[in-house]
């Protein structure tokens, strides 16, 4: 595809991005740079505003679902939620390749855009995997509550895991970084954006169990093998603020 010297800006939503996809494929030219509200402030140049068109966006969504392999569609979706500067431009390349091939996008690793996207998808899913273990719940009334501080937008990936694990519970996970609240009620998942941390009337009262957990961890430690560097590598300090065992 030809590259035009244009700079575009959109609202940062997935539908907005699909509008960008629609427009660039119709123009038969990709813009040099695509800005979102997060990246636009740092730029000097004025960009052309691409207004989100929900109707066209949804149409593109369904077209891509039809045309792309499910794995490749997922790759595009994951790539959109990954933290990567200029990801929109890379994603356009990825869509172009995916439309021309029957093979997996992963097998096009030789293309710099695919390589960059895959790397950041892995980082995001890696953090998600770490959090699946490091999230700590406590019962507040009959709700299992947890607070997290992830770098990446992991909530949509984290919630299904806990929905499967605790199908009969009410769960709330609050993401402080993205001000996002995940609510899982008996397996049904809802996400609420731009919310503050929920306040509970009653405080949790779980001193005994916390103490048992700390006692257990102390007891399984082999002092002769002390290796704090390994501990830090596997469990970076940034996760520890919300973990029961590191709270006083």
């Amino acid at each position: 595809m030809r590259e035009s010297a244009e700079h575009w800006e959109y609202d940062g939503s997935f539908l907005g991005f699909l509008t960008v996809v629609d427009r660039s494929f119709r123009n038969k030219a990709f813009p040099t740079m695509i800005l979102s509200p997060e990246t636009a402030v740092e730029r000097l140049f004025l960009a052309e505003w691409v207004a989100t068109d929900p109707v066209r966006g949804e149409k593109i969504y369904h077209r891509l679902r039809q045309r792309l392999r499910p794995e490749n569609f997922l790759f595009i979706q994951n790539g959109f939620y990954a933290t990567l500067e200029g990801k929109e431009r890379y994603l356009l390349d990825a869509i172009e390749i995916a439309l021309q091939t029957k093979d997996l996008l992963e097998n096009h690793l030789g293309h710099p855009s695919i390589l960059a996207l895959r790397k950041s998808i892995r980082t995001m899913l890696g953090e998600n995997h770490a959090l699946q273990g490091f999230v700590r719940f406590e019962y507040v009334g009959d709700v299992l509550f947890s607070k997290i501080n992830p770098k990446h937008y992991v909530m949509p990936y984290l919630c299904p895991h806990f929905a499967e694990r605790y199908p009969q519970e009410k769960i709330m996970i609050y993401d402080e970084t993205h001000e996002l609240l995940g609510i899982i009620d008996h397996g049904d998942i809802h996400l609420m954006a731009h919310t503050s941390c929920p306040e509970f009337a009653e405080a949790s009262n779980e001193q005994d169990i916390r103490q048992q957990w700390k006692t257990f961890l102390r007891a399984v430690t082999i002092d002769e093998r002390a290796n704090y560097a390994a501990q830090r590598n596997h469990m970076p300090l940034r996760f520890r603020g919300n973990m029961t065992e590191f709270k006083a």
Binding site: F134, Q168, F216, L217, A219, R225, Q231, T244
Partner: protein, 431 residues
């Protein structure tokens, strides 16, 4: 006794069991109302010794009737003893599981009264968890050697992974250090698990309900309490992987817990570096398609503690290199130091539609510093390298690393390999 005190005693007694993985269950067909498993397993915490905590690792009791010399729970030791009730273990597991502290339960036990009785207590615990609590999460259980076959089978249907510790790498050491244990008894449950699992495979594919030990079995060996060579240990592991389809063999550097004239002195440092090399060799067996004979030979039965086994193999077989990354097969790529399974796959994927260049390799996850001596790309090799084996060895080990390795080295000078001139090496590194 208070529950917290019991946890303290019985977790402390269980800590020398290495296995803590929660991986290997592919399709969880177990009925139940709470819990799930993940193929890759999940680590929930890490203790200050850098080991992962995935499962609630407990001994059901540490009141043992046996007197194995290497074991902290031997009956002649004066340590506090405690015993859980099945209900206590089940409740504690659920309390921790609901708060996402753990991925499941790892339950082992000392032999109380006799093996059958011990086994029945474990079965009772797992039944409460599976049937009353509807728990679908991960359970790793120790098979009790010497227990009745029927009991072992029942246990196998309740658990996800089962393990029998072979404890020591040879029959002679076992006889000497674990006089109450019958070596035959140790391998019997292992064999039984393998046979029952094989039989299950021939049943119709679609089955509901629990399957038999879906995550397979593992075992553990103590390193450094007995005089076996590294080669014989690697050979045993290879045999276990092939013969019994074990998922993992764990190695545990012996930490002197008991004063005993048959064992290393209490002041001896645990052979952590040797354990590390054994794990590296173990990975070579499982993921890099090496055989035990390639890793160590009869005239070199011990590891070179300064160089990892893969680099060691590569230097000794230098005539096979350089390998051209554009054309080499996946198996050939795996043999290059600095290239692992992931980066080898990346290479294979990346070169499918595009021509590689030496400068791309770093982005694909290859450790150039190590790989540069062994690779070429479209017949072009990295420029300006000296291809003398001794030089290569020197540059594969950084001087900082060398100092650390020297400190951890537990081999005596007579055991050490004369693969490279240590004196010259010291000189090169001190500059």
């Amino acid at each position: 006794m208070e529950l917290e005190r019991k946890i303290e005693i019985l977790a402390e007694s269980a800590k020398y069991d290495v296995s803590c993985s929660s991986s290997g269950v592919e399709n969880n067909t177990r009925p139940g109302t709470v819990g799930s498993t993940q193929l890759s397993g999940i680590c929930h915490s890490f203790t200050p010794d850098g080991r992962c905590v995935s499962l609630l690792k407990l001994l059901f009791t540490n009141a043992c009737i046996f007197d194995c010399h290497y074991c902290i729970n031997r009956k002649s030791n004066a340590i506090p003893r405690a015993t859980f009730t099945p209900q206590e273990v089940a409740d504690l597991t659920m309390d921790f599981y609901m708060r996402n502290y753990i991925e499941g339960l790892f339950l082992s036990s000392a032999i109380i009264k006799n093996p059958d009785y011990t086994c029945e207590l474990l079965i009772k615990t797992l039944k409460i968890l599976r049937e009353e609590k509807g728990f679908r999460g991960y359970i790793h259980i120790k098979a009790i050697p010497g227990a009745d076959e029927k009991l072992i089978e029942e246990l196998g249907f309740l658990a996800d992974r089962m393990s029998v510790n072979v404890e020591l790498p040879s029959r002679e050491s076992l006889k000497l250090l674990a006089p109450d244990k019958d070596p035959f008894d140790l391998y019997k449950p292992m064999k039984q698990i393998t046979t029952v699992k094989k039989e299950q495979e021939f049943l119709p594919a679609v089955r509901r309900g629990p399957s038999f030990v879906p995550a397979g079995q593992s075992t553990q060996m103590i390193i450094g309490a007995s005089p076996e060579s590294d080669r014989s240990i690697v050979k045993i592991s290879e045999n276990l992987y092939q013969k019994y389809q074990l998922k993992r063999v764990y190695y545990s550097a012996y930490i002197p817990v008991n004063q005993d004239n048959l064992l290393p002195a209490v002041t001896t440092e645990p052979p952590l570096l040797r354990e590390h090399r054994l794990y590296q060799a173990d990975w070579l067996l499982r993921y890099y398609k090496f055989t035990a004979d390639e890793i160590l030979s009869e005239d070199k039965p011990n590891f070179n503690l300064y160089l990892d086994p893969k680099a060691d193999w590569a230097v000794q077989n230098y005539q096979r290199f350089p390998v051209d990354v554009q054309t080499a097969t996946y198996d050939q790529l795996l043999r290059v130091p600095g290239i692992g399974p992931k980066s080898a796959q990346n290479i294979v994927k990346a070169r499918k539609y595009y021509r590689l260049h030496l400068t791309d390799l770093k982005k694909l996850g290859i450790v150039i510093k190590r790989a540069q001596y062994f690779i070429a790309c479209n017949r072009e090799t990295p420029a300006g390298l000296i291809k003398d084996p001794e030089w290569i060895i020197t540059s594969l080990i950084s001087s900082k690393q060398y100092q650390i390795l020297k400190k951890h080295n537990t081999q005596s000078t007579s055991e050490q390999l004369t693969l490279f001139d240590v004196e010259r090496f010291e000189h090169a590194k001190s500059r």
